[in-house]
């Protein structure tokens, strides 16, 4: 597949060409050109940082509208556990799951339950001790892409296991087909707090095809769920998950569920980059497992979530406490049919930072880049449309920008020209006497 699909898109009319998004993008994937932000597809990891920082709401994640479920005769919701934390005073997941059914879904299966199964499989793989240490979780797709682009030497450290949403979609389809529902009638919809999971459902890199038929943003479904939740007195018995699976939504949840004591849980993309730098420098070989999450607070802080991540964390604690004593769980043979939980395609290196395929030319460009960079003011103001002076120098050597895009360089050039004009104006033509 040549074209790279992304869920993060720009609303041109709302973009005012400020520098908020270019400054915060962790992979320097955005430039401002002609007064509008421009996302470089090959560098974007869909982390959603630009969605979060855009004060004009010009960045959006493209998800499916709820109506899309009507394309299928049998509609299945697979909600991320973050959904449970969005509602005040709701600690029983059954209420939220019942409300989803009332919105039009025929069946509801929790991603949290699949997270528990994935946890067991990950633990088994970690116990095998065949993987290079530290093993890095593959749960956050933005981090997988970040490693692919910025830390390719760490690809062998990534746990080659599918995500809980993908596992649940597979279990759901296998189970429903087993009870006689036709495959083409089943539509599985993931309810997501995350932009990167939209992309990785549409264009999976490590499996042939996703079993998820559509991704609905948590933001969109939240508004529709609020009035329905108020009407539920007697929730259905739909929950299968425990606190361990639900806890995956929060930083540290995956590591805690697996019981691996020697682990690091890091959230926020800048913090993750610092930790991955350490791994790349060989300084964390004594750690067994690293859980990296692009959003602060983990999936609770996802760009498509409604509630503040810290408030959600407080609610998560209450939900987990409630679930420790809740024995009112659903029991169906959903997991009787085993699924393949492993990646079936290798994760490929993406050398998007490479300046040229020819090494000698790349060195020449890099030397030129250094020369340009040394002329620039190095104050990283962003007025040129690049996040830093160094990024502008890179753009110039790649012929995507001019040195005059820098306002300081332009001003210097204008001053030189003005000085030349003054000098010229003082030179009289020889036909005119100097005394006249």
């Amino acid at each position: 597949m040549g074209e790279i699909l992304h869920s993060v898109k720009l609303d041109i009319d709302k973009c005012i060409g400020c520098t908020d998004c270019i400054k915060r993008c962790p992979t320097e994937a955005i430039r401002v050109r002609n007064g509008k932000a421009h996302i470089m597809d090959e560098r974007c990891i869909d982390c959603g940082m630009c969605i979060r920082v855009c004060r004009n709401h010009a960045k959006k994640a493209v998800t499916e509208p709820l109506d899309k479920i009507n394309d299928y005769a049998y509609k299945v919701a697979i909600p991320a556990p973050t959904l449970y934390t969005q509602f005040r005073n709701i600690v029983n997941p059954n209420i939220v799951l019942t409300a989803l059914k009332k919105l039009g879904f025929d069946e509801v299966f929790e991603v949290a339950k699949a997270a528990e199964i994935i946890t067991a499989e990950s633990k088994r793989l970690l116990d095998d001790k065949n993987m290079p240490k530290p093993v890095i979780s593959s749960a956050c797709p933005a981090i997988v892409r970040l490693i692919q682009i910025r830390f390719p030497s760490l690809i062998p450290n990534i746990l080659p296991i599918i995500s809980p949403k993908e596992a649940m979609a597979r279990y759901a389809k296998e189970y429903l087909m087993g009870i006689g529902i036709k495959k083409e009638d089943i539509g599985v919809f993931f309810i997501s707090p995350c932009a990167a999971k939209v992309t990785n459902s549409k264009q999976p890199q490590v499996i042939e095809e996703s079993y998820v038929d559509g991704v609905i943003s948590l933001k969109e479904i939240y508004l529709k769920l609020v009035p329905v939740i108020k009407t539920i007195d007697q929730p259905e018995r739909l929950q299968m998950s425990n606190s361990e699976g639900i806890g995956w939504a929060h930083t540290g949840g995956e590591g805690n569920a697996s019981g691996i004591e020697n682990h690091i849980a890091v959230d926020g993309i800048e913090n993750v980059i610092k930790i991955l730098e350490k791994v790349e420098n060989g300084k964390l070989d004594d750690v067994d497992f690293i859980e990296c999450l692009a959003c602060v607070g983990g999936c609770l802080g996802g760009p498509l979530a409604v509630e503040n991540a810290f408030v959600s964390s407080n609610r998560m604690d209450k939900i987990k406490k409630f679930n420790k004593n809740n024995l009112y769980k659903r029991d169906i043979p959903l997991f009787d049919h085993p699924i393949d939980m492993y990646w079936t395609k290798p994760l490929k290196t993406k050398q998007v930072l490479k300046l040229d395929d020819d090494m000698e030319k790349a060195i020449e460009k890099l030397e030129h880049l250094e020369e340009i960079y040394n002329q620039l003011p190095k104050i990283d103001c962003g007025s040129c449309g690049a996040p830093t002076c160094r990024a502008l120098a890179e753009d110039i050597v790649c012929e995507n920008a001019h040195i005059e895009d820098c306002v300081f360089m332009l001003r210097e050039k204008v001053r030189d020209m003005a000085e030349q004009m003054v000098t010229l104006s003082q030179k009289m033509p020889p036909s005119i006497s100097k005394d006249s």
Binding site: N281, G282, E370
Partner: protein, 138 residues
């Protein structure tokens, strides 16, 4: 191409900036991830040694289409017993450095293991020169 860095001594928090910049440069040149990892580990260890033991110094990096050569020069205290320093686990790092997680006695052995060639010349009271060489094509 040539790169030059001045490294400050005792700056534990910012230590590793030079190796981080070299790492980015190698990625821009399209060097294979495996070589980048080897350079990262060796150069980071050498840079940290310079920060911990030698009160800083200078680093010069030369990259050609075939090789990566890294020279680290300091005028620190020098290494008293190089054979001992090369042993895994041996360290003369300060208590302060150890409390920050450095000084596990893996620096020199790691540098040797991950580089294609390493030479050290050192003189007590005068300083240390470390040369790390890597072949770009495995």
């Amino acid at each position: 191409m040539k790169l030059h860095f001045d490294v400050e001594g005792g700056e534990f928090i910012t230590a590793g900036i030079a190796s981080s910049k070299v790492k980015k440069t190698l990625k821009q040149l399209g060097i294979s991830p495996n070589i980048i990892r080897k350079v990262s580990i060796s150069m980071y260890e050498a840079e940290i040694n310079m920060v911990i033991h030698a009160n800083g110094g200078i680093i010069d990096v030369e990259i050609t289409p075939e090789n990566i050569d890294i020279q680290l020069v300091d005028d620190g205290p020098g290494i008293e017993n190089l054979d001992l320093a090369m042993q895994v686990g041996y360290s003369t790092a300060s208590k302060e450095a150890r409390e920050m997680g450095f000084g596990a006695g893996m620096g020199l052995p790691n540098m040797k293991r991950h580089s294609d060639d390493m030479t050290i010349t050192t003189e007590v009271g005068k300083g240390t020169k470390v040369h790390l060489a890597f072949k770009i094509h495995e």
